[in-house]
């Protein structure tokens, strides 16, 4: 089984991607490829649910930035939900906690 699984569902707010496993150099392209096929409507919110993400390296961080660029290009929004503590610390060091909207609660993140 791949160390990364991505689930896709549609919530009232827009698409919700569940990132399960490790988002690293070898698996991040999976997320980037999937994002390229994901259509967003203006005003929608793309939610990346990271509650079950076990690891995220710099390639994973880049994939998150790609997701943000993809959302902004479609005039949509992006929220990182349930970011694990280890990744939250990295986001804090590189200043991305100011760039992404963060929501500790993945349920609340998908409320319109």
């Amino acid at each position: 089984m791949s160390p990364l699984q991505i689930t896709v569902r549609n919530a009232a707010s827009g698409p919700v991607l569940g990132i399960i496993g490790e988002l690293d150099h070898t698996t991040a392209p999976q997320l980037r490829d999937l994002l390229a096929t994901l259509t967003l409507q203006p005003g929608q919110r793309l939610v990346l649910d990271l509650g079950r993400m076990q690891f995220c390296d710099s390639s994973g961080i880049t994939a998150l930035i790609v997701a943000r660029n993809h959302a902004l290009a479609a005039q949509a929004d992006i929220t990182l939900a349930a970011v694990p503590a280890h990744t939250l610390r990295v986001l804090h060091i590189v200043g991305l906690d100011q760039v992404f909207r963060l929501n500790p609660d993945s349920q609340a993140a998908t409320q319109p």
Binding site: D24, I65, A85, H92, I93, G95, L96, V99
Partner: protein, 395 residues
């Protein structure tokens, strides 16, 4: 069981009148003589001194000679090329004398038209009843196809060796080019800074892997020096291209306006404008200005950080402090990014900046922030610190 021995028909006999047998026999080589003369190989019998006593038509055809010109008049070695004569003298004949037979020796015979024909030669000595050698029987197989095949193999091998040499030369050229490019990404030496000792440590992941880590230290005016250190996302040629852009942008920006935030902002604008959309390229960076004060011997440090782990200050008493720069954002992902500033004074102390350890797989303790490990790595200060030190880079 009722079958009788001998009563079953021979599977090769199709009739009972013998007609088919005769036709079949006619199709076969009908006489030993015919077989000898027209065999698909050369036959030759010689006396023990090599004088040719008997030769078949096939071999005469190959030689382009008449039987009368050969039998009793020539020796076997007269049919051979000069090299073949020598080989016959030194190897073929002695081995044949010793063993009474020899087979599969590659020689060349001279044809009347001047061409040479490669042949495979086998010989056997016919002995009399009491073991005396009587004559030598020799067969020669036409080896032109085989020789052509061998030459083809040899050509192919030479071509393969040539290709390998070219590939190795290409690889060496590529390594040289990579080394030259890598050199252009990093300073070869650090300039002397009055009142400071400087040191840098850089280790690439592999010799042919262009790195994404970078650092530099250079004078910006008569009094102060600028330094920077950072890490470009990714590895390989694309990362090296960003590293190169980053280094020269920061150097140029510092000469224009040495303010740390201003330099990082210029870099941010350049990277963001250059790399947007689906393939974002960005870096973390610490940019600082060092202002040595000859009167006090102290050095003022002003730095700004964009998403880089904090620098460390190792004081003379052994205390290690972070020089926190919270809130600085990765350089190149936002149109306009905030950068955090910090300043300190190095009265005997060490300022250490480093990039996080590059590891393709998570370290055993994947929850520890990179700076924790760095703090553990900082060595104890020498008993009598000589003076301030500045940026050292650890991968």
């Amino acid at each position: 069981m009722t079958a009788r021995a001998g009563s079953q028909p021979d599977p090769y006999e199709t009739g009972d009148d013998g007609t088919s047998n005769a036709m079949f026999a006619a199709l076969l080589e009908d006489s030993a003589e015919e077989l000898y003369e027209s065999a698909p190989c050369g036959y030759l019998s010689t006396l023990m001194d090599g004088t040719i006593a008997k030769i078949n038509l096939t071999l005469l055809d190959w030689l382009g000679m008449e039987r009368e010109a050969v039998v009793g008049r020539m020796r076997f070695t007269d049919l051979l090329t000069m090299g073949g004569k020598l080989y016959h003298e030194t190897h073929f004949a002695p081995l044949l004398r010793m063993r009474n037979e020899i087979s599969g020796i590659a020689l060349e015979i001279r044809q009347a038209d001047g061409d040479r024909r490669p042949v495979l030669v086998s010989s056997a000595v016919k002995l009399s009843g009491n073991g005396e050698p009587l004559l030598i029987r020799t067969t020669l197989f036409d080896a032109r196809d085989r020789r052509a095949y061998e030459e083809e193999l040899l050509r192919e091998r030479k071509a393969a060796e040539e290709a390998r040499r070219e590939a190795e030369a290409d690889r060496a050229r590529l390594q040289d080019a990579l080394a030259a490019l890598q050199q252009s990404l990093l300073p070869t030496t650090l300039p002397p800074v009055p009142g400071l000792e400087t040191a840098a440590y850089y280790r690439a992941a592999s010799p042919d892997q262009l790195g994404g880590d970078f650092y530099d230290l250079f004078p910006v005016d008569g009094k102060s020096f600028a330094f920077f250190l950072g890490d470009v996302c990714g590895k390989g040629p694309q990362a090296a291209a960003v590293t190169s852009l980053t280094r020269y942008t920061l150097r140029a920006a510092a000469l224009h306006d040495p303010d740390p935030v201003s330099a990082l902002s210029t870099l941010n604008t350049v990277l963001h404008e250059r790399y947007t959309g689906g393939d974002p390229r960005y870096c973390t960076a610490v940019f600082g200005i060092l202002e040595p004060d000859p009167a006090t011997g102290e050095t003022a440090v002003r730095l700004a950080s964009g998403g880089h782990p904090p620098a460390l200050v190792l004081r003379a008493d052994g205390r290690v402090d972070f020089l926190p720069t919270p809130g600085g954002v990765l350089v190149g992902i936002l149109p306009s990014a905030p950068f955090a500033t910090a300043s300190t004074t190095l009265a005997p102390a060490t300022l250490s900046c480093s990039t996080p350890t590059a590891s393709p797989r998570p370290a055993p303790d994947r929850t520890a922030p990179p700076c924790t490990a760095t703090r553990r790595c900082v060595p104890s200060p020498p008993p009598t610190p000589a003076g301030p030190r500045t940026p050292s880079s650890r991968p």
